[in-house]
């Protein structure tokens, strides 16, 4: 018995030592395609963009690296209102998505019963149509002489909206900050609802009973039990909404006007329609990326859930 064990040990140990010395290549082989992809389409473009942002020249003469940091200050001074628009629209969109999405996710998670999955499918259903087509559809729905505009004008809601600065062009719903934010909220709502639903659904309903048992009315239970437990979903949902929203320009392009231009449109114009716009577009791109990153870092830090990153 002991002899056999000893023999086994003797037989096994060199094999173990050998396999330890010879690294298993499989993980690297499996990683290679992904790493290659990221290097080609993420890392290199970032370097190109950053370097392009400090170049000068034009399409005809070619661009040379002159370390012209003034590209950035020029960008800021020329396009400060577009940067402000991007920020305002994306923050407004994120807040509205949260206000609309939280009750929706809460209802589906706790009152949905056997309809839960169907209701969630309905939330995602619009995503089966192209983003672009849906936005064009809203262009038609909000059209100047359409029923929506006429109704809102009849009940004087447009007056109020014009007062709040949401309508810039008289009583026209389209071509206004309202239409842009509206379109963004519509398009990004599922991105808020999905993570919210996931985190709310995980909450044990018996914790609500424990809350009720410990002197919490319905609202107090939500405030002291449900809300803190749903915070990871709130943070994930708002991030998933804010990050694409801040760079989005389809909604501003389709539903807005020259008065509602956002960073995305500037980048598009500079890169595609200007002789010497490459550096400006690149600088804008870097500003957008770094700016978003900083805002997200600050937000996550404040929310106290560093473990999300």
């Amino acid at each position: 018995m002991t002899a056999a064990t000893a023999q086994l040990d003797a037989g096994a140990s060199p094999a173990v030592g050998e396999s330890r010395r010879k690294r298993n290549p499989l993980p690297y082989i499996l990683l290679a395609p992904g790493v290659l992809w990221l290097v080609l389409f993420f890392l290199i473009p970032i370097f190109t963009a950053v370097s392009a942002s400090v170049q000068t020249g034009s399409l005809d003469e070619g661009f040379t690296l002159t370390w012209r940091w003034a590209n950035y200050s020029d960008t800021f001074s020329t396009y400060n209102s577009e940067i402000a628009h991007s920020l305002f629209y994306s923050v407004a969109c994120t807040v509205l998505c949260l206000l609309l999405g939280y009750p929706l996710a809460y209802f589906i998670a706790f009152r949905g019963g056997r309809w839960k999955n169907l209701l969630m499918a309905l939330v995602i259903a619009p995503a089966f149509t192209s983003f672009l087509i849906r936005t064009i559809a809203w262009e038609t729905i909000l059209a100047d002489h359409g029923p929506v505009t006429r109704f809102l004008m009849d009940v004087k809601v447009t007056d109020l909206m014009a007062h709040l600065g949401l309508l810039t062009n008289n009583h026209q719903l389209l071509n206004s900050p309202f239409a842009v934010i509206f379109g963004m909220v519509y398009n990004f709502l599922p991105f808020t609802v999905l993570p919210l639903y996931t985190s709310l659904e995980k909450i044990d309903p018996r914790l609500h009973e424990a809350g009720a048992d410990l002197y919490c009315s319905g609202f107090k239970t939500w405030r002291h039990v449900t809300w803190p437990l749903s915070l990871p979903g709130v943070i994930a949902g708002t991030l998933l909404t804010f990050i694409p929203a801040v760079g989005d320009y389809i909604n501003a392009y389709m539903l807005g006007s020259p008065n509602t231009m956002v960073i995305g449109q500037v980048i598009e114009n500079e890169a595609l329609r200007s002789e010497s716009g490459y550096p400006t577009a690149s600088a804008m791109g870097v500003v957008l990326t770094v700016g978003t990153l900083l805002i997200v870092l600050f937000y996550v830090k404040r929310a106290g859930t560093e473990d999300l990153l």
Partner: protein, 379 residues
């Protein structure tokens, strides 16, 4: 209106709960004296948890009223009742540490200074050193004690315990039973404990109500329920019983005679639920002794002859026998291991016991009621 100041016995009148066509709790009347340890005992689905949830306010009764002292709390919201619950799965708040979990009720009622009270309460359940931990970092037994502390700190009139020990292993469960009993004696509050574990109910409670199919089958002290079960369900569910069907043959003073399978069994008339007709005689296994067939049996004892030992399990303090009777029934006998000979399987034996240890039940009921759920409940 707040009912926090309601004081006194917990009283339930005609309490009924229906879920669709299913009646979970059926016209229940119950009084739990203030300061007592009360157990609702029954198999799963007997309505005991539903009763508890109606008392806590988490379930609305279909009919009936609930009183604490003289205050009717039937339609009071759960968060306004002077009642707290220790939930079956504990339902501790995962985002709060132990200190905050225990302080939760105090804070919601606007108590500013909670540190001292929480400290005292954690000391009572011996968890002071874990105040900064999260519930997920605690063992089952520790979580259970946090759940007790979280409810107790509010000094409710009634503390409801919903199978609080169900998730613990046997050894820890025994330990927690003693612990809970100690805490109850110390704080002197009314405890209503729901359990399917008859041993747990008997260890802890002053009064036990055995529930079956939404009704209370019998209520009384553990000793009384065990010695004088009123129905076959109670006799089988609470411990083990040897029940043999027979007919009342006659009465002589305080003694009743029941004829069962050719044996005349004497029992005190006071312990028999019927005076005439069909009866079931019962005797607990530990009261019965075995004698080899033909051996002399002292006069004046009840005897069943003609048994054959089918199984003998030696378990240290006692030997547990199964004896097959001529009429096909298997009876259980627990013999103390105090020097008697051990009867091997296959040996012919007679069963004998003190007539005073016999109880009698109404013969017009299912003799097996409650016997099949006993295994499930004990596991």
């Amino acid at each position: 209106m707040s009912t926090f100041d309601a004081v006194g016995d917990l009283r339930v009148e005609g309490l009924t709960k229906r879920f669709g066509s299913f009646t979970a709790v059926d016209d229940l009347d119950l009084t739990v004296p203030q300061g007592s340890f009360f157990a609702l005992l029954g198999a799963s689905g007997c309505g005991k948890t539903t009763t508890l949830r109606m008392v806590s306010g988490l379930e609305d009764p279909t009919r009936g009223r609930i009183f604490i002292g003289d205050t009717d709390v039937t339609s009071t919201k759960p968060y306004k009742r002077p009642v707290n619950t220790v939930f079956q799965n504990y339902a501790l708040f995962p985002h709060l540490d132990i200190h905050e979990n225990v302080a939760f009720g105090l804070r919601r009622r606007g108590v500013k200074e909670v540190r001292k009270q929480v400290g005292d309460m954690l000391a009572l359940v011996e968890l002071g050193h874990l105040a900064k931990r999260k519930p997920s970092q605690l063992s089952g037994g520790q979580q259970q004690r946090v759940a007790v502390a979280r409810a107790l700190i509010n000094q409710p009139q009634v503390l409801l315990l919903d199978e609080p020990l169900g998730a613990l292993d046997l050894k820890l469960r025994r330990q927690m039973q003693i612990e809970l009993k100690r805490i109850q004696t110390e704080v002197g509050l009314t405890f209503v404990h729901v359990t399917h574990d008859q041993e747990e109910a008997m260890t802890m409670a002053d009064t036990i109500a055995v529930m079956n199919a939404g009704r209370i089958e019998q209520m009384g002290s553990p000793e009384n329920l065990y010695e004088n079960p009123a129905t076959t369900f109670v006799a089988n569910f609470l411990g083990q019983s040897n029940l043999v069907a027979g007919t009342v043959a006659g009465k002589d003073g305080d003694t009743l005679t029941v004829e069962a399978h050719g044996h005349r069994i004497a029992l005190p008339a006071a312990r028999c639920r019927v005076e005439t007709g069909a009866a079931i005689v019962g005797v607990r296994p530990e009261k019965v002794h075995l004698a080899a067939a033909g051996a002399e049996i002292p006069a004046g004892r009840n005897v069943f002859e003609g048994g054959v030992v089918t199984d003998a399990s030696f378990i240290g303090v006692s030997t547990q026998y199964l004896v097959k009777m001529p009429w096909g029934e298997e009876l259980a006998v627990f013999e103390q291991n105090s020097g008697q000979e051990i009867h091997r399987p296959g040996s012919a034996v007679s069963l004998h016991w003190e007539p005073g240890q016999t109880f009698g039940l109404d013969g017009r009921q299912d003799i097996e009621a409650g016997a099949d759920i006993d295994d499930e409940a004990a596991s």
